[in-house]
């Protein structure tokens, strides 16, 4: 009896054994369906070609015998489609290692696949705050960053996308300033083409900053209404009149674009849901974010979580589409032994990045190392060794943490509205300085003032 994790290794073995038969096909899909069972999808032409059809059946038979119960009988386990594109549509797909014509297609019960990467957007910088575990001060750090950027004269747009545990807006807005609606309301109204009814009343300006502006879009409005009934529907895709489908994250992207057009911000800060979650996937992979801040506490729970995520990117061959946008944030760095704590955090982060996202750089070939041919008696390496990699101590590397210090006055988001209203810039700097500096540089780099 095989288990789910054995599907890919076994598929690789079986296809290697039958590589001659597989090579005859234009393409072949190993389709992992919603229940985690495997079918082949083969080109329609091979259905009519008797020898090819027989070959496909032989290979599937060999595979299904080893994969049971994660497979079907031969008569039910092979589907035929006219084109590869059609068969892959709407699902995560990537090639099986070692076979450039064999694709793994993964169909999930959720829309979040974490492997579809929207490239960086060209317009206003979008910065996502994400944590693999909750309760690490992510929303507080976002509020402080928004305040600081606004104090520096920037127009900041803040989105609370922690829909299942909202709270950011209460940190930035006093109760009397909360807008009537929030993101959840728009996502529901949009399903019936009524987004316009709430759009003008879902943004409020914070009174915290005196020099710039913070525009806040909360998860819900001042009156949260039937929040649970609404939340259960936000994930709905929208079916257009012509029968095409718009995913919920595409709808969210449309909302963000409309908000940017209306508010014309200098920067957008997004508070993402924590964990490997549907909303988090939309924030990290679908928004075209320019900078993704990964909050981390030193410990196995944090690094196991990030490792799972990074390995998925590696497996789906999309690591190079996102790794340059990542930055580890050392969350709530303890007061005692700050330096050694951050060093430990850096070392752990480096380990995970090296194993998953950084390129492995092989040493130069021995024959490329030797004396220069011009007889000067100098040694040289006649081999260009390239790859995307960093030293552990490289401050510009994604794994090198920007630290957010623990501070009594910032523990707990609820009190933040009061704290930021009276706090001095120096105190914010001492706690969030490294993060704020990094974010400011990233914003200025993209939008020189």
């Amino acid at each position: 009896m095989s288990t789910f994790d054995q599907i890919l290794p076994i598929a690789n073995e079986v296809l290697t054994t039958h590589h001659n038969k597989v090579a005859q096909l234009d393409w072949l899909i190993i389709n992992r369906d919603l229940t985690g069972r495997v079918r082949f999808i083969a080109p329609e032409l091979s259905k009519e070609d008797e020898p090819q059809r027989a070959d496909v059946e032989v290979v599937y038979q060999a595979l299904s015998e080893r994969l049971m119960p994660h497979a079907y009988s031969v008569d039910a386990g092979i589907l035929y489609e006219a084109s590869l594109e059609l068969a892959c549509q709407g699902a995560t797909h990537y090639t099986l290692g070692g076979f450039n014509k064999v694709w793994i297609v993964d169909r999930l019960a959720t829309e979040a696949n974490w492997a579809h990467m929207v490239p960086e957007i060209e317009g206003v910088p979008r910065i996502v705050f994400f944590s693999i575990k909750g309760g690490v001060g992510r929303s507080t750090a976002l509020a402080a960053t928004a305040w600081s950027l606004a104090q520096a004269g920037k127009r900041v747009l803040v989105l609370d996308l922690d829909l299942e545990s909202p709270g950011l807006s209460s940190a930035l807005l006093p109760p009397e300033r909360q807008p009537m609606y929030g993101i959840t309301d728009w996502l529901i109204e949009d399903l019936v083409d009524n987004g316009g009814a709430v759009f003008d009343d879902m943004v409020a300006t914070s009174n915290l900053s005196h020099d710039g502006e913070i525009h806040v879009v909360p998860a819900h409005g001042a009156e949260h209404g039937e929040y649970i009934a609404k939340l259960g529907r936000v994930w709905m895709p929208k079916l257009r009149a012509d029968g095409t489908r718009e995913t919920w994250s595409a709808r969210l992207g449309r909302l963000l674009q409309a908000l940017e057009e209306r508010i014309q911000p200098d920067v957008v800060l997004v508070d993402s849901r924590s964990g490997i979650d549907e909303i988090a996937s939309a924030c990290i992979t679908d928004m075209g974010a320019n900078l993704i801040l990964l909050f981390a506490l030193e410990g196995n729970q944090t690094w196991n979580g990030y490792r799972m995520l990074f390995e998925q990117w590696q497996r789906a061959h999309v690591a190079d589409k996102i790794r340059e946008r990542l930055k580890i944030i050392g969350a709530i760095v303890p007061e005692l032994d700050r330096v050694s704590y951050l060093e430990g955090l850096r070392e752990s982060a480096y380990g995970v990045f090296v194993d998953t996202l950084y390129d492995e750089i092989a040493p130069a070939k021995p024959e490329a190392i030797g004396l220069t041919p011009n007889g000067e008696g100098k040694w040289h390496v006649g081999d260009l060794v390239e790859g995307w990699n960093f030293d552990e101590a490289d401050e510009g590397a994604p794994h090198y943490p920007w630290g957010v210090n623990w501070h009594r006055s910032f523990a707990g988001l609820r009190s933040l509205q009061g704290r930021l209203a009276t706090i001095d810039a120096q105190e914010v700097q001492s706690v969030f300085g490294s993060l704020i500096g990094g974010v400011s540089d990233a914003v200025d780099l993209r939008r020189p003032s």
């Binding site: 369906d33 069972r37 079918r39 589907l79 489609e81 297609v105 169909r107 709905m236 079916l239």
Partner: protein, 137 residues
């Protein structure tokens, strides 16, 4: 004989296409309707329709022909997470059908009428193929 809605859906579709190509529109029309009915019934089984030992629906309300099964399908699909992406367009392309059509004279079946039913049957066929890819059936 035991009912096999999936197999019946496929054979009715294949034969309907053959008859349509041969411009035998009346019987093509009948088989597009049958293919649609069988395909939807197979999907309804996945979304909760119960069948007896012979494979026939146990509820009288499910003994419908193509005109009514289009709406009946929604009863089973709604409220199921896995059914979210299996919506049918409205109005149904089979609204102009009747069970009595099978007794009608063939001059009543022109290409345009049959094409709209072919489109409806193809919609269901695509849903059946999608359900197979996703492992729902």
């Amino acid at each position: 004989m035991l009912a096999d809605f999936l197999d019946a859906h496929e054979r009715h579709w294949t034969d309907a296409e053959g008859l349509f190509a041969a411009e035998r529109f009346a019987n093509a029309d009948h088989l597009y309707g049958m293919a649609t009915e069988c395909g939807l019934k197979r999907l309804m089984m996945r979304f909760g329709m119960t069948v007896d030992e012979k494979g026939n629906p146990t509820k009288r309300q499910d003994w419908k022909h193509v005109k009514d099964i289009w709406a009946r399908f929604e009863t089973y699909r709604s409220g199921k997470v896995e059914g979210v992406d299996y919506g049918l367009p409205t109005p149904s392309p089979f609204d102009n059908c009747s069970v009595d059509d099978r007794y009608a004279h063939q001059s009543h079946f022109d290409k345009v009428r049959v094409q709209s039913h072919q489109t409806g049957a193809r919609t269901v066929r695509n849903l059946v193929a999608k359900a197979q890819r996703e492992g729902l059936i």
